[in-house]
């Protein structure tokens, strides 16, 4: 509602939606490229004076004369020079520092309420002034400008500033990742109307052209009606490479509810349960059915079951569901009063370096990815890992036997761990499918590999990312998996296609982690640009942008009910997001180093985190939900309160010297954590 009335930001709001990769668009794109090829051919013909052929081709392809215009130079080059030319100005570089100081003095002189809001624009103005000077080859001015003002910027921007500081020459600007981000996108700032008017008046009064240009061309000011935000509120959500997320970006409805559970054959359950314990099931039976019914009632927030085509359930999946359900009945409470029990798995003798650890949903398997490009799968139960029998042997098995699955397995191959080799670079993620038949892994070598856990061999190698793949994850319903990587794209794959079926792009830097929404309709990606995005698998749209991290986002986790998303990373702050509103709910500070793993308890009441600071911490989500102000209008940023009280921490348990790379809650809410034992040489930096 607001923001649209702003004169100079109005016309500049088109970008942000370019990252959609609909199949439909793909098709049109293909058309376009075909046409371009034709045009190129025509130009060639024209150049070489082959008029007859040219005419013929034109007629045949029905292209009008106007379309064929000789391009001045190659497309990309014009793009770059055009975009960079934004910085071109004839202004005296020595005056930039004055402009900046002038702006600063103005902000200082404002009322306190506006001061904090207005001071947010200092950082982007600083950056663009610096870049302008660099572009116009005033190197010494640029450096002295940088030295003078860079220390005044917020702490969480210092990392970017360091990277920026390396750019001191015009030639450097080309091809620099950070540069391209700055020139291609606008820095988003949220501001109350009062503050905005202040700024407008100031700019009109003091005709400082370069300043005006920068604010007009490189800033997007999202104006809202309401009281100005406090410093705390601003800090909570700023920190992204490009400021904050726009409010408009988070308006689309997200179906965060869970999918309707398919009806499972109840008699089967009764049969199974009866012999086990005679006293308990009878009591629970009547309770259970209403529970099931309630869930299966239509959740207004849930997507339709067939919104995304999902594989049909096999008998085995149903059995699995029943076991899971039965185990869930034995779930213990985990909350402030009932602290959890944590079982810690230490990976010993991992000299080559552990790069990832993951646990299967039912907690029976543990995968460890190593820097030497191997993957190991360990069993954590008494059930050993076995391979399937050879084809000849399988042939002789009675296929109608009840225990045919058991008979398929070869006991001679039983072992506590299996080694999977095939990658040619560090394995950055290795994740199990829900049915534990497959493992999908990604690596520095740019490939994603699908492994069979029945034959313990590599089934498919998916090539598409040409750069290191940082993370991969299976859909909770199987069949699909998604990978993210250094090439700033997320790719959705189906196990039976060797090419991706969706490509999501829009992040300004590497995508570092990815998670499937529990209903399999969305994926969330965390990036090095310090934003988190939620993407709709159906149409490839980005439906949420969360800003607030001050460092690269390394881990994400959806709450079991699908409504909340927790994230953390290099900045070691754990953030909790509400997917329905796109708002930040809580900030949990306590870790002292990168957080690599997050997990909600099975009932969603508690969030566990672990990372390089060798500790497991537990956070109270219930308390966050209790304390949330339900009356607040989420469309007005200043009325949203971010819970960052220290009381959210329930407990913290330290390991001796083991970083925590994986945290998991079993179906019964027992906590499992895992990490590699620190090598001797790794210990020294901790101590000093």
């Amino acid at each position: 509602m607001a923001g649209n009335e702003v004169p100079f930001s109005d016309s500049l709001k088109t970008q942000g939606n370019m990252q959609q990769t609909l199949p439909l668009q793909n098709a049109t794109k293909a058309d376009v490229s075909d046409k371009q090829t034709l045009l190129a051919v025509l130009q060639f013909l024209k150049k070489n004076n082959l008029k007859g052929t040219e005419e013929l081709l034109k007629r045949e392809a029905s292209i009008k004369d106007d379309d064929v215009r000789p391009p001045t130079s190659s497309q990309s080059e014009t793009d770059v020079s055009h975009a960079l030319a934004a910085y071109k100005s004839a202004d005296d570089p020595s005056r930039f520092a004055d402009y900046y100081t002038n702006l600063k003095t103005f902000i200082e002189s404002c009322l306190d309420a506006h001061k904090v809001e207005l001071s947010v624009i200092l950082y982007p103005v600083f950056i663009h002034m610096y870049l302008e000077m660099v572009y116009n080859e005033h190197e010494s001015y640029a450096i002295s400008f940088f030295r003078r003002f860079s220390k005044e910027q917020e702490d969480f921007y210092q990392e970017d500033l360091q990277r920026l500081a390396t750019v001191t020459k015009k030639e450097h600007m080309k091809g620099n990742e950070l540069m391209e981000s700055f020139k291609a996108s606008k820095f988003v700032i949220k501001m109350s109307r009062d503050s905005y008017n202040h700024l407008k008046r100031y700019l009109q009064e003091n005709k400082m052209k370069p300043l005006l240009t920068i604010i007009q061309e490189h800033l997007f000011i999202d104006v809202f009606d309401g009281v100005p935000r406090t410093k705390q509120q601003i800090d909570a959500t700023s920190g992204g490479l490009m400021g904050e997320s726009e409010r408009d970006a988070n308006k689309v409805k997200v179906f965060y509810g869970l999918l309707k559970e398919p009806d499972i054959n109840m008699p089967l359950e009764e049969e199974d349960e009866a012999p086990e314990g005679d006293d308990k099931p009878k009591k629970k039976k009547p309770k259970k059915d209403p529970l099931m019914m309630k869930k299966s009632k239509n959740d207004p927030h849930a997507p339709a079951f067939n919104r995304i085509p999902l594989p049909e359930m096999k008998d085995q999946d149903k059995m699995e569901k029943i076991t899971a359900y039965r185990e869930a009945l034995k779930r213990v409470k985990v909350n402030r009063e009932n602290l959890p029990t944590i079982c810690f798995y230490t990976v010993l003798n991992s000299y080559q370096g552990v790069t990832s650890i993951d646990m299967a949903e039912d907690s029976s398997l543990l995968s460890v990815g190593f820097a030497d490009s191997t993957i190991r799968v360990f069993t954590t139960s008494s059930q050993k890992l076995r391979g399937m029998k050879t084809a000849g042997e399988l042939d002789s098995i009675d296929r109608d036997a009840d225990d045919v699955l058991e008979r398929m397995m070869d006991d001679r191959t039983a072992a506590d761990s299996k080694l999977l080799t095939g990658h040619s670079g560090p394995v950055y993620a290795a994740r199990f499918s829900r049915d534990r038949k497959y493992l999908v892994s990604c690596s520095e070598d740019g490939t994603v590999r699908l492994w069979s856990l029945l034959t313990w061999t590599n089934l498919v190698c998916y090539k598409g990312h040409n750069h290191p793949v940082w993370d991969v994850e299976f859909s909770p319903y199987g069949h699909y998996f998604v990978s993210v990587g250094h090439d700033r794209t997320a790719r959705l794959w189906a196990t039976d296609h060797h090419v991706p079926i969706r490509i999501f792009s829009g992040h300004l830097s590497d995508m570092d982690c990815v998670k499937f929404h529990p209903n399999s309709n969305y994926i969330a990606t965390g990036s090095n640009d310090r934003f988190i995005r939620l993407w709709d698998i159906l149409n490839g749209n980005c439906v949420r942008i969360f800003s607030g991290h001050k460092g690269s986002v390394q881990t994400l986790c959806f709450s079991p009910d699908g409504r909340f998303l927790a994230s953390s990373g290099v900045d070691s702050i754990v953030l909790l997001w509400d997917i329905s509103t796109g708002g930040l709910m809580a900030q949990m500070k306590g870790h002292t180093d990168t957080v690599y793993s997050l997990c909600f308890s099975r009932d969603g009441g508690v969030l566990a985190s672990g990372g390089l600071d060798n500790s497991v911490k537990l956070w109270d989500v219930v308390k966050v939900l209790q304390e949330v102000d339900t009356d607040a209008d989420t469309s007005i940023p200043s009325s949203v309160h971010v819970n960052d009280s220290a009381g959210l921490l329930i407990g913290s348990w330290a390991t001796k010297a083991t970083p925590v790379l994986c945290i998991h809650f079993t179906r019964k809410n027992l906590m499992i954590a895992s990490g590699p034992a620190a090598l001797q040489e790794d210990k020294s930096p901790h101590k000093t």
């Binding site: 360091q162 990277r163 990976v347 010993l348 000299y351 139960s381 290191p468 250094h486 570092d512 040489e681």
Partner: protein, 637 residues
């Protein structure tokens, strides 16, 4: 300000044009103009910074703190540049630092390897395979004190505890066993950091849980009991278990009282056991001992300089005890001496006093010499050397004197040997090889010739010297038993984390121990319930499970020829200024105090014979050797 400068430096750091020139020359391009070199330098620093920034991403995803060479390689590859070969190091590049002429330089040392050597070298050991080990990080929110977990109270915390009693209470709160009856609300984990505003010092009472009491009882019994295998296990536990700090005051009292009694009793064996306990406690890295030194030091000192430590000084080998205690004292001085407590100075003074004193017994003097000898060469130089002549005279009078006292004679011999042992390395460094016997005689009197030969021998074979001396002194090998006997024992430590589910109680060390835990229904009840009924609640479930002791075998095999086999000794002794340095304490019974001390039922002799439970674990401690020696000696005489 410093920070500011630091940042500027970061921004400004550049490869210099000279570097570029040198690099260019090294690849055969000479005569690069200055301008070109400057441009190249700037560009290459920019590119380098880009690569490093890229490499940081790989470091993050490698879950590490430290940037490695492979990260750089990967970053290069991601930029489509061929990576550098030949820089694969597992543990960071060993940069060396050099400075000179106001310049600082870090460089990688490139050693030349002899290929022949590498080819002929024995193959390195195959690294141990990767394995998974499970343990409980916490049980119902309470972290069990097992070796896999960090100690409940770090040394720093224990240190703070001395200064501030409120800290103490918080530590205890953290570690406190949640008794089954305690309501869950009472667990005050969230109040960890909050100290009392009023700063009222609480009376901190050292309440020990049932388990801790049991542990204490088992450990103390095992340490002074007859079963050597059990003892070594107990000592091992003392030396390595975290979380003993709560029991430390009890142990220190046990030791100091034990020494007081057994010195009067002249019970050599028990004194040895107690000293071994001291050694183990000192070896425990998780304990902050400073608070209890006032009890340990007098006890150890007593064992060094006491006039009499055994029933028959002429046959028993109390010298070994004195040596051992002296080594402990040396270690203590090294570890704990500070400018405020002046331990080393005070101890040295005491020893010197004993050496100078005419009245002091020869055994005391022996102890004092050993004590000084263990303090290091500086102490030997300034406190022992000046007195050698006097000691020599004394020894001479004893050896050649008219009154023949067997005990004194042995003492005199031992003093001579010990002097030779401690002085020869110092003298070797101090005096040139040219010094003659006469020089030595002039300086050290009657001991001169002996010292001369000792130094000569030391020069000749500094390698064999230790064992030679060992032979000459007739002790256990002094240089070797510095390595604590208990450490070398490969005894599997029979510690169990007691769980309600029997399937869990397997030994640690077998990697898959608790894996069943996740799925066995038994555990679920444990986790679910939250109110187990037995005292063996999770949290403090540490037990040293001992091999069951054979019921008193009644073997009156008394190597130490103790006259009484009574299990309990009631002793009337002085309770006066026992806290002082014992050598100075007059043992006049002023205020009688009755101490009851449970004694062992004789010594069961060789560890192998300890009974069905006491297996011979390949453990032959110095002291059992000694005891055997003593036995033999007594047989001979």
């Amino acid at each position: 300000m410093a920070d500011k400068e630091h940042k500027e430096q970061k921004i400004g750091s550049q490869i210099s044009a000279e570097t570029i020139k040198v690099i260019a020359e090294s690849v055969g391009i000479g005569g690069i103009p200055d301008d070109a070199a400057g441009v190249l330098a700037e560009d290459s620093s920019y590119r380098l910074k880009q690569i490093v920034q890229e490499a940081v991403k790989f470091m993050h995803h490698g879950k590490r703190h430290r940037l490695s060479t492979t990260d750089i390689d990967n970053a290069l590859r991601a930029q489509n540049v061929e990576p550098l070969y030949g820089f694969q190091t597992g543990d960071g590049i060993p940069f060396r630092f050099a400075s000179g002429g106001g310049r600082e330089l870090h460089f990688v040392e490139e050693k030349e390897f002899d290929l022949q050597e590498i080819v002929n070298a024995t193959l390195p050991k195959i690294p141990i395979d990767i394995s998974l080990k499970a343990h409980w990080l916490c049980i119902d929110g309470v972290q069990p004190s097992i070796p896999e977990n960090p100690p409940p109270a770090s040394k720093d915390q224990q240190q703070k505890e001395i200064l501030d009693t409120t800290v103490k209470t918080t530590i205890e709160k953290q570690v406190k066993v949640i008794t089954p009856l305690a309501e869950p609300h009472k667990i005050k984990h969230k109040h960890k950091g909050i100290t009392d505003l009023a700063k009222v010092k609480d009376l901190s009472n050292h309440e020990l849980s049932v388990e801790q009491q049991l542990y204490y009882k088992e450990i103390t019994e095992a340490c002074v009991g007859p079963d050597e295998a059990r003892r070594s296990e107990a000592l091992q536990s003392l030396a390595s278990d975290p979380g003993l700090h709560q029991m430390l005051p009890r142990f220190s009292t046990f030791i100091s009282e034990g020494v007081k009694i057994n010195v009067v009793q002249n019970n050599l064996a028990l004194l040895i056991y107690l000293m071994r306990m001291v050694k183990s406690i000192m070896d425990n890295q998780t304990l902050y001992l400073e608070k209890y030194l006032h009890e340990f030091i007098p006890a150890v000192c007593t064992c060094i300089v006491s006039k009499q430590l055994c029933m028959r000084p002429e046959v028993d080998n109390h010298w070994a005890l004195r040596d051992f205690a002296a080594r402990l004292m040396g270690q203590m001085c090294k570890n704990f001496s500070t400018s405020t407590n002046n331990i080393q100075a005070r101890i040295t003074k005491t020893f010197t006093h004993a050496i100078q004193s005419d009245k002091a017994a020869l055994a005391t003097q022996y102890g004092a010499i050993a004590g000084l000898g263990e303090m290091g060469s500086e102490v030997i130089k300034s406190f022992l050397l000046p007195h050698v002549k006097d000691i020599g005279e004394k020894v001479k009078t004893v050896l050649e004197g008219p009154i023949l006292n067997a005990a004194d004679k042995i003492a005199a011999e031992n003093i001579k040997k010990s002097l030779a042992k401690y002085l020869s390395p110092v003298l070797k460094a101090l005096r040139g090889p040219g010094a003659s016997v006469d020089d030595y005689t002039a300086e050290f009197g009657s001991l001169g010739p002996m010292l001369h030969t000792a130094v000569g021998r030391e020069r000749k074979s500094s390698g064999n010297q230790g064992s030679q001396l060992a032979k000459t002194t007739g002790l256990g090998t002094p240089s070797q038993d510095r390595t604590r006997p208990t450490v070398t024992i490969p005894t599997p430590r029979s510690q169990f984390v007691i769980q309600q589910s029997s399937s869990l109680g397997s030994l640690p060390g077998t990697p898959k121990q608790t894996q069943g835990a996740i799925r066995t229904p038994g555990t679920t009840t444990l986790i679910q319930g939250g109110q187990p009924k037995t005292p063996s609640t999770p949290g403090q479930q540490k037990f040293i499970v001992m091999t069951s002791r054979p019921s008193n075998n009644g073997q009156s095999d008394k190597p130490l020829s103790m006259s009484s086999g009574t299990p309990t000794v009631v002793k009337v002794m002085s309770g006066g200024s026992q806290g002082q340095i014992p050598s100075a304490v007059p043992r006049t019974p002023t205020t009688p105090k009755i101490v009851v001390m449970s004694m062992t039922q004789g010594n069961s002799g060789l560890p192998g014979q300890g009974g069905p439970g006491g297996q011979d674990l390949g453990m032959r401690s110095v002291f059992t050797d000694q005891i055997n020696n003593i036995k033999k000696e007594s047989e001979n005489s």
